[in-house]
Amino acid sequence: MERPSTIGLVVKGLILLTVVLLVAYPFVGVIGTSLSTESDIARSGGFVLLPTSPSLSAYETVFNGGTVTRALLVSVLVTVIGTAASMLATIGMAYGLSRREVTGARWILLIALLTMLFNPGLIANFLLVKQVGLIDTFGALILPGLVSAFNLVVLRSFFMGLPRELLESARIDGAGDFGILVRIVLPLSKAVLAVISLFYAVGYWNAFFNALLYLNDSDKFPLPLILRTFVLQGRTLDSLAAAEAPAPVQAIQMAVLVVAIVPILLVYPFLQRYFTKGVLTGAIKG
């Protein structure tokens, strides 16, 4: 293969550097502002890249409150339990629908696909959740979006792409459907499973709208809803900032933002190697 020219390398390097800077700039700004004092923020017009006298007071305010720590716990639990439940349901449904011998599979798939095209709407959803008695429960954060049709289709396509011979030989060896799923299908689908888990996990981690609609007790609020409150209501955090040396409002907003971004950011690199592979596999073979 021909070696790239020096100019080509420089140009590519510059383009990549620009892209990295464009992505990193707001992120560094968020972290910088979260560590700033009032005068730093006022001087720089609300966006500090390098605080002159870094202070952790915003983080202290955020974590002392108990509200953010509890919300963090709620979010972790909802994300873990929700992702596990969603994976269980999606795997079961996708496997069932991937078997050609299942009667009515096409219709069931069609119904699932319809939910991608037609949303029942806010109020119908609310009434349903209310009717089944999920208002003000954690179930309301998980059950309404338990199976995503998109993930279901990706997973089903992947399962259908597995060599039939493999599954048939397992059956000849005496494995039932459950055995085939657990011993053959799932081990072969690690990449796509990792990707779909990440989709679900990110979805649960970021979801605030269900919480806003279905939860009344602020003790049960997950982190994104709290984050939203901090960011939207930051301008009037009067009571919170009433203590002696209040952390600046914007610093608190940015600190909550950091707290919300970091956990999911940490998970991402571990799963990224599966990411492209998994999605492409599902898409191409579908």
């Binding site: 409150g65 509200t67 806010l122 009571s239």
Partner: protein
């Protein structure tokens, strides 16, 4: 950020459908069949709650007066009094949903202030605080889902279509329970002046308990220190608006990143300040039984031209039309602008303009802008934070809920008011050497439960950090109220206004912003007036005029 109108419209429709379904039985009695009744224009035809001030509870440092100038206090009262003799409830639960402007509070298990509120209430208070930005979504799903709590905030710009049908089917009519002397059963509610109660009238009946703010929204704030550097040591030296123009030009030094005025997105370049200075009406003006809208007046046109000239002269902070509210505040506090439009409540307190700007510069001297020149008026608008409505309840329950509202309306200096605002002494606040309550860190969190959004007394002026600021505010409000103008349509109902208010407001804001920004000529104002009249303005005018004719002397 505002919710897109289309989605809100959709939500409103959903809620309206639910209202008409739920209320069908109740409404059919009025002869309307199965559909919601056609909303009609309604004037103020009821007896408002009789204003009965609480006698001699406290001695203010700066006494207020009957025109609406509030009492001013330099220190917090040392001797607290009990505003509610016995608990308003005898067991049971009251459910409440209100808007909040604070982060979510710790739940009752970890919140001694919440526990104390329930102890004094004599029952359980299930409070749902909803951020103001999420309120339309939450409120409309509550209406549609039939999960309205006992007491809830109603925000007119974020509410339902056909408000009279909604209140008739879902809410308790408070007219007989509170009108005239009946309100005396609830002494703290009775101490709210009638002007605030007018905001709670829907379709000619009283449905809302007002949560009062100041009588005036104000004309924004100016930096006296920056004006002084330009040679104006007292605003009285600025005798007319030409002088103000010169002054704003003098303080503008782009090289030092310093401008005359800072605005923010949707702020129409601070037009509200100048509309008042030019004497434009407070939304409507009543001339011999005929209503004239603000935008149709010469005063408003003059204000628009004035602000356009300010922008052309480079006085307005470039790019500030893209700022959010916080950024605008920061720039003003940092001394990069001499004038800003913001509501009066933004002045005092730990995050108010005064204290925040002094943290940046000890010599900063922000003050409320006062009316300048012979024509200036101050709009008596924005006088309530919101109104609180009551779910349809039988009379005994309604009375109990009114006692609850009365409890939350306990006045400044009472044990109850102190509890709602400063929590429990010891855990949530301590007293400084002058006796002023100082929130502890825990208190800062515990007091974010928005009790004061359920019901509230009229707001006194109090800032323990600066007696001078209280004096300045007191004097400024006095000057504003002296030239205050009311909106003559307050308390009257026009269906056309209700339905088209939001779209007309957006159209007006957008087009006037374009004119000031120089994207459209000043003559576009004529086209705007024409469109405004055609798209609901004239209809609202006719309905309001009819409503005002119906009950010209009531109130």
């Amino acid at each position: 950020m505002r919710e897109p109108v289309s989605r809100r419209g959709f939500l409103r429709l959903g809620a309206a459908a639910a209202v008409s379904a739920a209320g069908a039985a109740a409404l059919s009695a009025c002869g309307g069949g199965s559909a919601a009744p056609a909303a009609k224009a309604q004037g103020l035809a009821i007896t408002l709650p009789a204003y009965t001030p609480l006698s001699g509870a406290l001695k203010p440092d700066l006494p207020g007066n009957a025109t609406g100038v509030p009492d001013g206090y330099f220190t917090y009262p040392k001797e607290l009094f009990k505003a509610v003799a016995k608990p308003p409830m005898s067991g049971g639960t009251v459910s409440i949903a209100v808007q909040t402007f604070s982060p979510p509070p710790p739940g009752r298990a970890e919140n001694p202030a919440w526990q104390e509120v329930e102890k004094r209430l004599g029952g359980t208070a299930d409070m749902q605080p909803v951020t103001s930005d999420d309120w339309p979504t939450k409120f409309n799903t509550m209406v549609a889902g039939g999960t309205l709590p006992d007491l809830f905030t109603y925000v007119s710009t974020q509410g339902v279509n056909n408000l009279p049908a909604f209140v008739a089917s879902q809410c308790t009519d408070l007219t007989a329970l509170l009108g005239g002397d009946a309100v005396k059963e609830y002494p703290n509610l009775a101490a709210i002046p009638q002007v605030f109660w007018k905001q709670g009238i829907v379709g000619g009946k009283l449905y809302g308990i007002p949560v009062p703010r100041n009588m005036v929204g104000g004309l924004g704030f100016y930096r006296a220190d920056m004006f002084a550097r330009a040679g104006v040591t007292d605003l009285a030296q600025v005798t007319d608006l030409d002088r103000l123009f010169e002054l704003l030009k003098e303080v503008t030094r782009p090289k030092d990143n310093q401008y005359g005025l800072v605005t923010h997105t949707g702020g129409v370049y601070g037009l509200s300040i100048f509309a008042q200075l030019f004497g434009a009406p407070n939304l409507w003006r009543l001339d011999n039984g005929k209503l004239v809208h603000q935008i149709e007046t010469e005063e408003y046109r003059a204000a628009v031209e004035y602000v356009r000239k300010l922008r052309e002269a480079g006085v307005i902070y470039p790019g500030s039309e893209g700022f959010d509210g916080l950024k605008r505040k920061n720039e003003f506090n940092a001394g990069r602008a001499a004038l800003v439009y913001d509501g009066l409540p933004a002045y005092l307190g730990p995050t108010g303009y005064l204290q925040t700007s002094r943290k940046i510069d000890q010599k900063a001297d922000p003050r409320p802008m006062i009316p300048i020149g012979p024509a200036a008026k101050a709009h008596l608008n924005n006088i309530v934070v919101s109104i609180t409505m009551m779910k349809k309840s039988d009379e005994a329950r309604a009375k109990e809920l009114l006692r609850v509202a009365d409890f939350f309306a306990s006045p400044f200096g009472s044990e109850e008011y102190t509890l709602f605002n400063y929590g429990v002494e010891g855990a949530d606040h301590t007293r400084d050497d002058k006796g002023n309550p100082v929130l502890t860190e825990q208190g800062g969190r515990d007091t974010t439960v928005p009790w004061k959004m359920v019901a509230a007394p009229t707001q006194p002026l109090f800032d323990s950090s600066s007696a001078e600021a209280v004096k300045i505010m007191h004097e400024a409000i006095g000057k504003m109220i002296a030239v205050g103008v009311e909106d003559p349509t307050v308390g009257s109902y026009s269906p056309a206004n209700e339905n088209s208010y939001e779209s007309l407001y957006t159209m007006r804001n957008d087009r006037v912003t374009s004119i000031v920004a120089g994207r459209a000529p000043v003559s576009d104002l004529d086209r705007l007036i024409k469109d405004w009249r055609a798209k609901g303005g004239d209809k609202a005018r006719a309905e309001f005029e009819e409503a005002l004719k119906q009950a010209p002397k009531a109130g």
